[in-house]
C-alpha cells in the first residue's frame, strides 16, 4: 500500500465478481488500491495485518466490497481515524434472491458509520438516493487487452465454438436450460465450451439427453480461461438478470461477439443494428435463441464483423464509464 492511496477498496475473497470489479477500478482509474481479504475470520492474521496498515496509512476512505460480517472489525478500527467508510454493492435487485441480502442492505442504508453508499447498478442507486444520502452509481470498468491477445479471424470454419460460462450457483439466472434447448435444435456443427456445467448431476444428464457436443474445462485459472476464450467464436449469455455481465464483456474486449438477453447491460451501449442481431427479445424462448444463433453463424464473416464492431463500441463506452468512475472517486477524495 502506498502513502498516496487515498481510497482503499477491500473485499472478501468469496465475492469474485465484486473483486474483479474493484481490481478493474484500480487499474482503470488509478485512484483506488484494492486488497483481497482471504479469510473471513474477524480475528484472522490477515484482518489484523490490514487493520494495522489502515491505522498507519490513514486513507481518506475504505470502500468495502459487498457486505461481510468481518467488515465490522474494520469499521470499529477506523472509527478513531478520520477515515470514512463506504460500501460498494454490485448485485442488482433481480440478480440474486434479494431477500437473502436485504437485511445487510437495510442495515447499510441506515448505518451512520457508512458514509458512502455506492452501487454498480444505476437503477438501484437512483431508487435508493431518495431514502438515503451519499448514494452514488459507480459503473463497472473494463481492462482491454492488447492486440497480441485479441482473437484473430480464422476464415471459414466447419465447426464453431460457442461458450456458456457461468458459476455453479448461477445456472438458473444465466438461463442455461433454454440455451441448451436452443443448441439441441441447431443443424450446424458446433462444440460448446463449458466451465463446470457438465459436472452438475442434473445438467450433466441434460447435456447427454439433448445430445449437446461439449468440452468442459471445469473451473479455470485466469491464464487457462484466457487461452480457452481465444478459441471461442460466439459467447452465449442469455441471462434473466445481470448487473453488468463481465463474462459477456470479457468476450467483447477480445472481439468475440456475444449473444445476450435484454437484461445484459454490457450490451446497452451497442447501436440498434448490433443489438437486433445479438439480443434475444424473449430469453425464455429456446427457438428464438436457436434462430439467432443460426442467423449469426450463417455467413462466414458475420461473427468477425460483429466482434469488431462490438469491441469498438464497448471501448468507447468504457472510456465514458472510466470518466464517470473517476468523478465519483474524486468526490470521495476531495
Amino acid at each position: 500500500m502506498r502513502n498516496d492511496d487515498r481510497v482503499i477498496t477491500l473485499c472478501v475473497g468469496g465475492f469474485p465478481g465484486t473483486n474483479r470489479s474493484l481490481l478493474n477500478l484500480e487499474k482503470t482509474t488509478g485512484l483506488t488500491r484494492h486488497i483481497v481479504l482471504r479469510g473471513s475470520e474477524a480475528d484472522g492474521a490477515d484482518v489484523k495485518f490490514y487493520i494495522e496498515l489502515l491505522r498507519e496509512k490513514k486513507p481518506t476512505c475504505v470502500l468495502f466490497g459487498g457486505w461481510s460480517p468481518v467488515y465490522d472489525v474494520f469499521l470499529k478500527s477506523i472509527r478513531s481515524l478520520k477515515t470514512e467508510a463506504g460500501v460498494y454493492w454490485t448485485s442488482s435487485p433481480g440478480q440474486v434472491d434479494i431477500s437473502e441480502e436485504a437485511e445487510y442492505m437495510v442495515s447499510l442504508i441506515n448505518s451512520r458509520r457508512i458514509k458512502h453508499r455506492i452501487f454498480a447498478n444505476g437503477e438501484l442507486a437512483k431508487a435508493l438516493s431518495g431514502v438515503s444520502h451519499n448514494v452514488k452509481h459507480l459503473p463497472d470498468t473494463l481492462l482491454f487487452p492488447g492486440d497480441d491477445v485479441i482473437k484473430k479471424p480464422k476464415g471459414k470454419k466447419d465447426e464453431l465454438v460457442f461458450s456458456l460460462f457461468c458459476s455453479p450457483f448461477e445456472y438458473k439466472r444465466k438461463n442455461v436450460f433454454n440455451t441448451l434447448l436452443a443448441l439441441s435444435m441447431l443443424k450446424r456443427k458446433y462444440t460448446l465450451y463449458l466451465n463446470g456445467l457438465s459436472k452438475n448431476r442434473f445438467y450433466g444428464n441434460i447435456l447427454k439427453t439433448l445430445g449437446i457436443r461439449y468440452r468442459d474445462f471445469n473451473w479455470m485459472t485466469d491464464e487457462k480461461y484466457q487461452t480457452v476464450l481465444g478459441e471461442v467464436d460466439l459467447g452465449l449469455q442469455i441471462s434473466f438478470a445481470e448487473t453488468f455481465n463481465y463474462v459477456a464483456a470479457e468476450h467483447i474486449v477480445r472481439k468475440i461477439p456475444v449473444m445476450t438477453s435484454r437484461m445484459v447491460p454490457a450490451l446497452d451501449c451497442m447501436p440498434a443494428h448490433i443489438r437486433n442481431r445479438l439480443v434475444v427479445d424473449d430469453a425464455d424462448c429456446a427457438s428464438e435463441i436457436r434462430d439467432k444463433i443460426e442467423y449469426l453463424t450463417g455467413e462466414a464473416d458475420r461473427l468477425h464483423y460483429l466482434g469488431e464492431r462490438m469491441h469498438a463500441h464497448l471501448k468507447k463506452e468504457n472510456e465514458r464509464r472510466i470518466g464517470q468512475a473517476k468523478k465519483v472517486l474524486k468526490s470521495i477524495i476531495e
Binding site: 500500500m1 502506498r2 481490481l23 484500480e26 483481497v36 489484523k48 495485518f49
Partner: protein, 91 residues
C-alpha cells in the same frame, strides 16, 4: 550465486508492507492485491533479512534451527531469497 555473495546483505523494499502476526510473516507488495504468508524457515530467513544479517549468517541459523546440513540450508536459503528478489520484495 557464488560463495563470495554469501556476504551479501539484503534490504526489504521500502514499498513493501510487512508484519509478523501470530508467528507468521505477512507481506503486501505495492502492486499486489493479496498477502504473502511466510512460515517455518521462510519466517526465519525473513527475520534475518530484517535484522540485516549476511546470507552466510542466515544459512547458519537455518541449518541450526532446522537441523539441516549446511549445504542443504544454503540451497534452500538461496532459492528463497532469489524468489523474494525476483518478486521485488527484497533488494
Amino acid at each position: 550465486m557464488k560463495d563470495d555473495d554469501l556476504s551479501r546483505v539484503y534490504a526489504i523494499n521500502g514499498e513493501v508492507a510487512h508484519r509478523e502476526i501470530e508467528g507468521q510473516i505477512l507481506i503486501l507488495r505495492p502492486d499486489d492485491n493479496f498477502l504473502y504468508t511466510l512460515n517455518g524457515s521462510g519466517r526465519l530467513i525473513w527475520q534475518g533479512i530484517v535484522k540485516k544479517k549476511k546470507l552466510s549468517a542466515i544459512i547458519k541459523n537455518v541449518s541450526k534451527e532446522f537441523g539441516l546440513p549446511e549445504a542443504t540450508a544454503r540451497q534452500d536459503v538461496l532459492a528463497f531469497v532469489s524468489e523474494l528478489e525476483a518478486k521485488g520484495i527484497i533488494l
